[in-house]
C-alpha cells in the first residue's frame, strides 16, 4: 500500500517492478491467514463451524474466479459442488480401507477431475447467448443435476443422503476426530493451497487476459485473445474448485445430503462473493465469514425473517456499496492514505 508519491517514484524507475509490486503480499493478507491458523488455539470448541466457513469460502472462491474475473454470471456452481461431494463420498464409502479409494487426498483429486470434466462439457453452454440466457442455462443444468440426484437414489442415497462416508486417515496419520480439528486443518490447508494457485493465476498474464475479456470482449478479440477458449478453461477450473469444496464437505462431515445440489447453495455462494466483493478473491473469504456470522446472529434472533434482512442487505449493497466489504475497506484505506499524504 504505497502512497501515490512513492508509487510515482517507483514508476519512472522501473515499470516492470511497478507491475510486479501489484501482486505482492500485503500485511492484511498475512494477518488474515495467521488469524485463521490461530483459531485452532483461540477457539477450539468451534472447529466444526470454522470448517464449514472454510468449505464455503472455497465454493465462493470458485464463483469469484468465474464471475469476478471472467464476467460469467452463473447460478449453477452447486451442481459441481454436489458432483464433487458425491464422488468423494462414494469413493470413501465403497472403498473403505482400500487404498487408494478411501484416501482423502485422492478423493479430492477424483472430485476435482469429475467436477472439472463436467464443467468442461457444460462450459460450451455458457459461451453463447446473453446474460439472461447464460443465467438460465446454468440454472437449468443445476436443476437437472438436482433432479438426477433425486432420481438416482440408488447411487446418491436420495433424500436420506449418502451415509457411511469413512475417509481413511489423512496422510495415513491424522484421524478425522469428532471435534473437527483435523477437519478444520485439512480444509484450511486445501483452501490455502488452492487460494495461492488462484492468486497466482489472477496476477499472471493469463489472469490479465481474463480480466480483459471481462472488461471489453470486443477489444480482447481484436488483439488476438481466443475468448471462448479462455472462458472454457476458467469455467473448468471453477468447476473443479467447487468440486473439491464438495469433496471436503463429504469427507469432513462423513455425510452427503441432496442439498449440496440445491440451487439455494449456488445462490448463497453467489451472495457471499457479492457481499465480500466480486473480483477480489479475498471477498470470497471475508464474505463467507461475514455471511456465517450474520446468519448466526440474525437467524437466531428472527429465524423466519432472516431472508428479509438478507434481501434488504442485498438491495442496499447494490445501491450503495457495490464493491462489497472489500470495496468498503479499500475505499476506507484510500481515504486514510489521502489524509496521510495531505498532512505529510
Amino acid at each position: 500500500m504505497t502512497s501515490l508519491a512513492a508509487g510515482a517514484r517507483v514508476a519512472t524507475a522501473d515499470p516492470g517492478a511497478h507491475l510486479v509490486a501489484k501482486a505482492r503480499w500485503r500485511w492484511p493478507e498475512f494477518l488474515l491467514w495467521l488469524f485463521a491458523i490461530a483459531l485452532i488455539w483461540l477457539a477450539p470448541s468451534r472447529y466444526l463451524l470454522f470448517n464449514e466457513i472454510a468449505i464455503l469460502a472455497l465454493l465462493a472462491l470458485s464463483i469469484d474466479l468465474v464471475l469476478g474475473f471472467s464476467g460469467i454470471v452463473t447460478l449453477g456452481q452447486g451442481a459441481f459442488y454436489g458432483l464433487g461431494a458425491y464422488t468423494a463420498g462414494l469413493m470413501a464409502k465403497h472403498g473403505i480401507g482400500t487404498f487408494p479409494w478411501s484416501d482423502p487426498l485422492l478423493g479430492l483429486l477424483g472430485a476435482g477431475l469429475v467436477a472439472g470434466f463436467v464443467g468442461f462439457l457444460s462450459s460450451f453452454l455458457v459461451l453463447r447467448g446473453s446474460d439472461l440466457t447464460r443465467l438460465m442455462v446454468t440454472l437449468g443444468v443445476a436443476l437437472i443435476v438436482q433432479e438426477l440426484g433425486n432420481k438416482l437414489d440408488w447411487i446418491t442415497g436420495g433424500a436420506d443422503g449418502l451415509q457411511g462416508v469413512m475417509p481413511a486417515p489423512l496422510l495415513g496419520l491424522f484421524d478425522f476426530d469428532i471435534f473437527g480439528r483435523t477437519a478444520y486443518l485439512y480444509s484450511l490447508s486445501v483452501l490455502f493451497v488452492l487460494f495461492l494457485l488462484a492468486r497466482a493465476l489472477v496476477n499472471s498474464p493469463s489472469g490479465l487476459s481474463l480480466r480483459a475479456i471481462k472488461g471489453n470482449v470486443i477489444r480482447a478479440r481484436a488483439i488476438g485473445i481466443p475468448v471462448e477458449r479462455r472462458l472454457v478453461v476458467i469455467y473448468t477450473i471453477g468447476a473443479a474448485y467447487a468440486g473439491i469444496a464438495g469433496a471436503l464437505l463429504a469427507q469432513t462431515t462423513q455425510f452427503v445430503s441432496l442439498d449440496v445440489l440445491s440451487f439455494e447453495k449456488s445462490a448463497d455462494a453467489l451472495l457471499i462473493v457479492v457481499f465480500g466483493g466480486v473480483g477480489t478473491l479475498y471477498g470470497a473469504l471475508v464474505g463467507s465469514i461475514a455471511f456465517k456470522a450474520m446468519y448466526d446472529v440474525l437467524a437466531s434472533a428472527t429465524p423466519e425473517y432472516w431472508s428479509f434482512w438478507l434481501g434488504l442487505a442485498l438491495v442496499l449493497l447494490v445501491l450503495f456499496a457495490r464493491g462489497g466489504i472489500i470495496g468498503l475497506l479499500t475505499a476506507l484505506r484510500d481515504r486514510l492514505d489521502r489524509a496521510r499524504s495531505a498532512r505529510a
Binding site: S204, P205, L208, R211, R221
Partner: protein, 262 residues
C-alpha cells in the same frame, strides 16, 4: 505486387438492406490507403467484415494469400491484422502499461502464462514502455485508462493496435472527437508508422486523407464507386457529385501540397 489484404466480391446483407455491395479490393504491403465516402456508405461495416467482427453474406477475404473468410476476429488479429475502432474500445480498469503488456504478450504467445505475475518478463515490459514512450503516453502509463483524457485514450487505441507489429492496420477515424489541440499528436503518430505496415485509413476528414493517402477508395451505398490516386479522385466528376454539399469544397479544389500527393 502481392496483396497483403484482399477481398473478392464481398457482400453483406442485413435483412433487406445491402450494407456492403460486392466489393473487390486489394491492399499491397506498405500501402497508405484511405477509404472515404458519405455518411452511411458502409465504411465501418466493410472494416468490420475485414477484421472479422461481422461475417459476410457472400464473398471472400484473404490475408497474405490465406482465405480468412471463416476465421473469427481473434485469429485474424493473431495473423497480423489489427484495427482501431471509431469509438475507443479500451480496458477502462487497466493501466496503459498493462494494456500494452497484454497486447504484446498475446502477440508473442505469452498470454497463457499463469504462475509468475505480470511484469516479470523484462523483454515484454521494456517493449511496452518503449511503445508508450513513442506515443507520448509514458507519463500516464500507470494511470487508470478510464480516467485519461480523450486524446490520450485515442493514442492508446492506436498503441494497442500497433503493439503486435501487425502487417495490416485498419484505422477507423483515428482523430474523431479529439480536441483540436491534440490532433497533431495523432497525426504525427500515424505519419511515423512503419513503412512495411499496410494502412487503411477510414476518414471523413479530407485534411488527413490528403496528408497520408497515396491511394483512395470511394465507397457509396456499400459499393465501390471509384478507386485511384488522390489527384484522380479529386477531379472525378462522380465523386464531386456524391460529395456536393457534404464537405469543404476547398478540400477538393486545393489539395494539400507536400502531402502524400507529392
Amino acid at each position: 505486387m502481392a496483396a497483403v489484404l484482399e477481398t473478392k466480391a464481398l457482400h453483406k446483407n442485413f435483412g433487406g438492406l445491402t450494407a456492403t455491395n460486392n466489393v473487390t479490393f486489394a491492399l499491397p504491403a506498405g500501402a497508405r490507403h484511405a477509404l472515404i465516402g458519405p455518411n452511411g456508405a458502409g465504411k465501418t461495416t466493410f472494416v468490420n467484415l475485414l477484421s472479422g467482427v461481422l461475417t459476410p453474406t457472400s464473398g471472400t477475404v484473404y490475408l497474405d494469400g490465406t482465405d480468412v473468410t471463416r476465421w473469427p476476429a481473434h485469429r485474424r488479429a493473431d495473423a497480423g491484422l489489427a484495427r482501431t475502432f471509431q469509438i475507443n474500445q479500451l480496458f477502462a480498469d487497466f493501466t496503459p502499461l498493462e494494456t500494452i503488456v497484454l497486447a504484446i504478450s498475446q502477440a508473442k504467445g505469452l498470454a497463457t502464462r499463469f504462475l509468475r505475475p505480470v511484469g516479470t518478463d523484462a523483454g515484454v515490459v521494456s517493449a511496452a514502455a518503449d511503445l508508450l514512450q513513442r506515443l507520448t503516453l509514458a507519463d500516464v502509463m500507470h494511470a487508470r485508462v478510464g480516467s485519461l483524457p480523450y486524446g490520450k485514450q485515442r493514442l492508446l487505441e492506436i498503441a494497442i493496435a500497433i503493439a503486435s507489429e501487425p502487417k495490416v492496420l485498419l484505422l477507423d477515424e483515428p482523430a474523431a472527437g479529439v480536441p483540436e489541440s491534440e490532433r497533431e499528436q495523432i497525426l504525427d503518430v500515424v505519419a511515423a508508422l512503419p513503412g512495411e505496415m499496410a494502412l487503411v485509413l477510414i476518414e471523413h476528414d479530407m485534411d488527413l486523407v490528403f496528408r497520408f493517402a497515396k491511394s483512395l477508395t470511394v465507397l457509396v451505398n456499400g459499393g465501390v464507386l471509384v478507386e485511384g490516386s488522390p489527384g484522380e479522385i479529386v477531379n472525378d466528376p462522380r465523386v464531386r457529385q456524391v460529395y456536393l454539399g457534404e464537405l469543404h469544397v476547398e478540400g477538393f479544389s486545393q489539395p494539400h501540397a507536400g502531402g502524400a500527393l507529392g
